[in-house]
Amino acid sequence: MTTHREGTFVEGLWVEPAQLSSETAPSVAEVGCTSAPLESMAFHFASFCKKYNDDFVKCKNESQDPKHCLKEGRKVTRCALDLIGKLKENCDAQWTKHWECLDMNNHTLFKCRKEEKEFNDCVFKRLGLTKVIPETAEGATPIHLKEQPLYK
């Protein structure tokens, strides 16, 4: 039966018993952040790991097979782990405040501009990364820098 329904008389969750083979086993640990911290550092991750991200996207465009892009994926994961370590070392307080604010507001970025500004300032001061929104029109202020975003 392939209907999607909630389980009745649920007794636990499925744990994969088969061990990972040596060719699919990741030689790098998985990223341990949940969705809110990842969302708040997303733009900084884009500028910090640009070349690995572009490689991975190009590789994925060639084929959707998961085995095809494992190497590029591992590079992206390593870069992400590096960035998370740097953020925890340098800007932990501002990052935590921003993602806790996102958590309380349904993960919408426009509700947390104040904390985002503090976090971006800290990241720029310590790590030199700016948040750039791709595909903004030439000469237009990006939405996160507008003083009064609700007015024209």
Partner: protein
């Protein structure tokens, strides 16, 4: 027949039922919000959840055990490599 006496210059009496309705509505919304916070470990409910958010919330539950908990560690626990969010159901029919 003498005219009925008007109490105030501007009639405020009709506003009292509206205030009562407003108070009942406010209490209702406050109560619903409090109950949702109680169910979601102190946070408001997620709304407008699309497929991306559902998949991210499933990943959150695999990392921390519940969709409402967030964690900001560098590495994932070892159990994350093999766990899942699929429920095991005892056959009953």
């Amino acid at each position: 027949m003498p005219h009925a006496r008007q109490r105030w210059l501007v009639p405020l009496e009709p506003l009292f039922p509206l205030l009562v309705i407003g108070a009942v509505g406010t209490v209702m919304r406050w109560g619903v919000a409090k109950y949702q916070k109680y169910e979601n470990f102190g946070k408001p409910k997620r709304w407008s959840v699309d497929r991306w958010d559902r998949r991210m919330m499933e990943r959150d539950s695999r990392l921390t055990g519940n969709v409402n908990f967030q964690r900001a560690e560098i590495e994932a626990p070892q159990a994350f490599l093999t766990n899942s969010a699929w429920e095991l159901e005892r056959p009953f029919m």
